[in-house]
Symmetry: C2
Subunit: 377 residues, 2 copies
Amino acid sequence: MKFDIIHKDSGTKARAGVIQTDHGTIQTPIFMPVGTAGTVKAVHQRELRDDIKAQIILGNTYHLYLRPGLDILEKAGGLHRFNGWDRPILTDSGGYQVYSLAKTGRKISEEGVKFKSHIDGSTHFFTPECVMDIQRRIGADIIMAFDECTPYPCDFSYARTSMDMTHRWLKRCCDRFDNTQSIYGYQQTLFPIVQGSVYKDLRIQSAEFIASMEREGNAIGGLSVGEPAEDMYEMTELVCGILPANKPRYLMGVGTPENILESIALGIDMFDCVMPTRNARHGILYTTEGVINIKNEKWKDDFSPIDERLGGYVSTSYTKGYLRHLIKSEEILGAQIASVHNLSFYLWLVGQAREQIIAGTFPLWKAEVLRKLTCRL
Amino acid sequence: MKFDIIHKDSGTKARAGVIQTDHGTIQTPIFMPVGTAGTVKAVHQRELRDDIKAQIILGNTYHLYLRPGLDILEKAGGLHRFNGWDRPILTDSGGYQVYSLAKTGRKISEEGVKFKSHIDGSTHFFTPECVMDIQRRIGADIIMAFDECTPYPCDFSYARTSMDMTHRWLKRCCDRFDNTQSIYGYQQTLFPIVQGSVYKDLRIQSAEFIASMEREGNAIGGLSVGEPAEDMYEMTELVCGILPANKPRYLMGVGTPENILESIALGIDMFDCVMPTRNARHGILYTTEGVINIKNEKWKDDFSPIDERLGGYVSTSYTKGYLRHLIKSEEILGAQIASVHNLSFYLWLVGQAREQIIAGTFPLWKAEVLRKLTCRL
């Protein structure tokens, strides 16, 4: 993997870059749609590529490991071949899902995590080593270290103990990763994850440790888990100041359009979040004019396009009134339209941010666009 | 509306024709995807047009009347403007849904049918007159008469009484239809419906009555409701022999690929059925090689395209193994892929039938294709 910064904003820490992978390039800052079970929910691969203009998508290790399972994925030739998405894929480590989905009977120890499948209740055991092997077999371009994502709030003592274990696990991840290789012939790379909850000294300690591992890119985890936005920004700024500037920085699970723009300004290059797709299915739309709850009565006879300025088939061909009818009627097409629209908006947002960074107009544009985007229409 | 028969098969009663409407032409024989609530479930309008190659779709009067409601549809400028489908639309009369969905508290009288909404339990009253007005306001190109669709089995006495009322209702439909006009500036036409259950003498009587009304097209109702296929074909053949040959014949709610080919051979020009979309959502796929239950274990590592011979993005880009994973995981994309595929297959089937009729090779082709299509793979 290769990362080149092509422009740095002078007013903020924002940067525009290019990541090169064996499945093609990624223009940063970038938002990565979440494709939990090998599909970005309600979105065709063709729509991801041509309408949304996604450059990289996520897969969830926990879900893919349980279903369809590694044998099938490997037999298909990896996740890219399995789902027909031939651009870059990043997989998470499964840690987050193990903690949040498999609450019953999960048990964390130094060795790893024992958990029960939310599908059939069967027992499984994830270790740093096996999670590396799993992601190798899934075939992700970017593989995430196995960490513990602490909840919010989290007391200092737990946060420190957890962070220390995450660091020990990281060494095991790196060892395993460096002693194995891609089984599909293209390069894979491992990103470690900074933890430390909302405690400055832990975040500093973790960022320094992660930086010392000298991987090709670095991630910040454990944020956007319920803490105040100011804490998220403070931790992000602190950590970005320590992580190497010449490598991509990925802020995991973030966030709202506002969170994304603020974090770009702090030096973040990569984002992922279920918000655009999950909210879409519940009728919350992000538009260039502000946020819309399409279930509101006021949209029932509004026959203007969802978002003319955004462009694209879905946002300009379907009207607000029609989409409201579909969402209220719980029609699948409602989820489809809203999902393509919201993801198009997120990709538009980071694409615009990139252009403004290159043009040297990012801070001004950001202030202006935030005023609009945080409106509730 | 104008109907021209461009070729008649010499070995069967099949014919190839063209229906002209103010929203464009329809090449017959044709299959009409069902868009119950103003959407063909899980299918984008662009996919209907470009991938499936649908020429006309159905809307359900009962559903559209309840939600979004006529005020909104009229304010949008009719259903075409509301849902963005600018080709022909046919609406049913709502009768079938009133009988099957609003079972609780529905009451049929000479005047009409009182029923309760399955959405909120509110009481409504449909008469032949108001159903004409409703379909005028929905803005369908082809409007169906308000009839009673008798269930199967149905005793002779009930079938005769019901048929007689359907005939009296038809006169009221025609009166109302002929004394009102389109509110959107394009022509609308009314199709009456032959009833009579599986009783030959009733079907003859009904077909003669319907023919005598001299409308621009005619429909056959009350079949494909559970009766043996032989009864369906026998009634269809009988009725086709009486309905005028120079007008389109529409066999309502039919059916399997086999039903469709057999009925084309009997002189039917138009079909609709929820089968391709409903079965799609449950993982039953129609392919050029036969019928597939994609949930079966055998497809889990079959990475061949869903149906290479059918062509089209969905059928050739996604694999059986991937689709199986999506359907088993209850992912929305599974319903999307299977729905576009099955409808593409149905439109391919009637399109092929048309070409074979024109080429004079229909009977031979039909025998050959039926051998394949009825295979369970």
